[in-house]
Symmetry: C2
Subunit: 349 residues, 2 copies
């Protein structure tokens, strides 16, 4: 399995004899086991074992080709201690809880436990062809559903009805919501993460729709802001500024581009439009088995884009009490530039 | 606010000057703020502050009456350090990650950080009248939806269609799935947590449906196993054994009952039917703002039932390659016994 080979290279470079993998997306990436929370993997140079409990005996055998040990702690820790021995064992410090680390320390007193955050996440940040096709399919489905639902966004309709339409269509196509659909109309548009409410949308309002499909475990993520009738001049101006920032940042995506520079590019454009304060979050994030994963596209990021990364570009502007705009594309970093996977129409408001 | 008063009593007893609350359900319980992952609370004896970031400026103000500080780390930690000072600061060791603790240690070098798991969880385990009514309403909705969908469970229908029907009806009623609906038919019934698949249900099979409604933040949880036509004698025998164990355990619910004893009671009955090995999980768990919360009804639990607790009683038996049965009720611990909130019919198979 390529993933394990690459991980073992990383482990050797960091002086780790073993890695205890606890984050569900990482467990899935390494094993194929899809349990949301109840699998762990111990990886050494010559072995990798999936640990889960008896609720998943059948499922684990169906989904994963790795050797499996079915029990609960402390039996799982006892079994793993043969592979752990006196070695240096990495753990996912950005996922494992303080109490979880104490359990490992008590179970493996001869081992040296060492914080090793982000190892599998870094592997996951560059997708292989199979993963890219999975995300492309998820986004294509989301594009289709968006196009079907777009005509329903009109005055007199509740935000929640739009969200439900989107979700039902994703479900009928064999997918699920990647996250709660955001439908934020009028003044609710000032909440960047306002999931759909019972609010009835009205003429002259902007409506922000943020949606993703999860298909075969892989996610998509896209946002469009649309108008019902004719919005105020102020909100149309805000829309134009966000669109300008979004398109400029997308066009700057390429291997070697620094995430922090992309964030600064979009932020600079919004600043020139007097909207620096209104852009209250980072520019984007990686997408894959998790909706938010590496790389992080924000001002403090050290990440540099590489081919195979899949990132969102999603500047926004939020005016409390007035409204908001966000436009988000899902963008693949190619060998020599970028490809926008999200094809849904961006309207002129 | 009663919750804060009770929490401060607990903090005094444990010698904590402050508590850094990071688990989302605990943040919601103490503040009303419903963000799934991006709120924290610092509680001292004379102050409680909600920390979140600029994406939630509007939402936090709408939902919470607590003083709010809107920023990201490290600014939030700097702001909190005035309240933290040189005090003893508890943290949720069963939620805070190892990396998260390192951030706090670096930000508050003069403070003494102390693992304090389960403080808010313990308060949450006994529900007040408002919470009980919220969960009662969620379960009543789930009962109604189950009754509507039950006639659709028949040969030739896909598991996924049943799950989708349940979810859509919950959504139309203003609720959401508390968790992915489990519809496990025939041999898939041997997977205790097998969410609905594309499998077409067939005559002579048992079908396990595990579903919950989340309404205004509070969850319900219930399982029924039903027959399509006439199952084998073996599976009917298994059903009878699980039902006997379930009813006996429900009737033993009362204040002062030990969780471990309830688990042993149900397990003993299944053992007498030769199904000890087949009952591969614990008896139940508390339900509230989270689907799984304190108390834990398992053999190793130290928990004792108290009035106001809401627990599931859910023995099951799983025969790999053959099928499975689980029956689960949602049970309120009253002043002198119990009240079963889940009213959906248990059929004779």
């Amino acid at each position: 399995m390529t993933q394990l080979t690459r991980l073992r290279d990383e482990m050797r470079q960091r002086g780790l004899d073993a890695l205890w993998v606890s984050r569900p997306a990482n467990v899935r990436y390494l094993t194929g086991f899809t349990s949301p929370a109840d699998g762990k993997v111990l990886v050494t140079q010559d072995r990798a074992t999936l640990y889960t409990d008896a609720r998943y005996t059948v499922q684990a055998a169906e989904e994963s080709a790795l050797p499996q040990f079915i029990a609960r702690p402390p039996a799982t820790y006892e079994h793993a201690s043969a592979d752990v021995g006196r070695g240096v064992v990495g753990f996912e410090a950005d996922h494992l809880t303080v109490a979880g680390l104490e359990e490992l320390e008590a179970a493996w007193p001869d081992a040296t436990l060492k914080a090793a955050p982000g190892l599998v996440e870094e592997l996951r940040s560059c997708k292989d062809d199979r993963e890219i096709e999975a995300i492309r399919a998820a986004q294509a489905l989301a594009d289709r559903v968006y196009a079907e639902v777009r005509p329903m966004i009109r005055a007199g309709v509740r935000e929640a009805d739009i969200a439900l339409e989107i979700e039902q269509r994703l479900r009928r196509a064999g997918a699920t919501n990647a996250f709660d659909v955001i439908v934020a109309s009028g003044p609710r548009g000032a909440m960047p993460h306002g999931t759909a409410s019972d609010r009835v949308m009205q003429d002259g309002e902007l409506v922000t729709i943020d949606m993703g499909a999860c298909l075969n475990g892989y996610n998509s993520d896209m946002t469009r802001t649309v108008a019902i009738g004719t919005p105020t001049d102020e909100m149309r101006r805000v829309y134009g500024a966000v669109l300008e920032a979004e398109e400029a940042a997308v066009q700057a995506v390429k291997p070697g581009a620094r995430a922090a520079d992309l964030d600064a590019l979009a932020r600079g454009i919004l600043e020139r439009h007097g909207l620096a304060e209104a852009f209250a979050h980072s520019l984007g994030h990686g997408v894959g088995l998790m909706v938010h994963e590496a790389p992080g596209l924000r001002g403090t990021s050290e990440d540099v884009l590489k081919p195979g990364m899949l990132v969102t570009i999603e500047p926004g502007a939020y005016l409390p009490g007035v409204g908001g705009v966000r436009i988000e594309d899902l963008v693949l970093v190619t060998e020599d530039g970028y490809e926008v996977l999200s094809q849904a129409v961006k309207e002129t408001v």
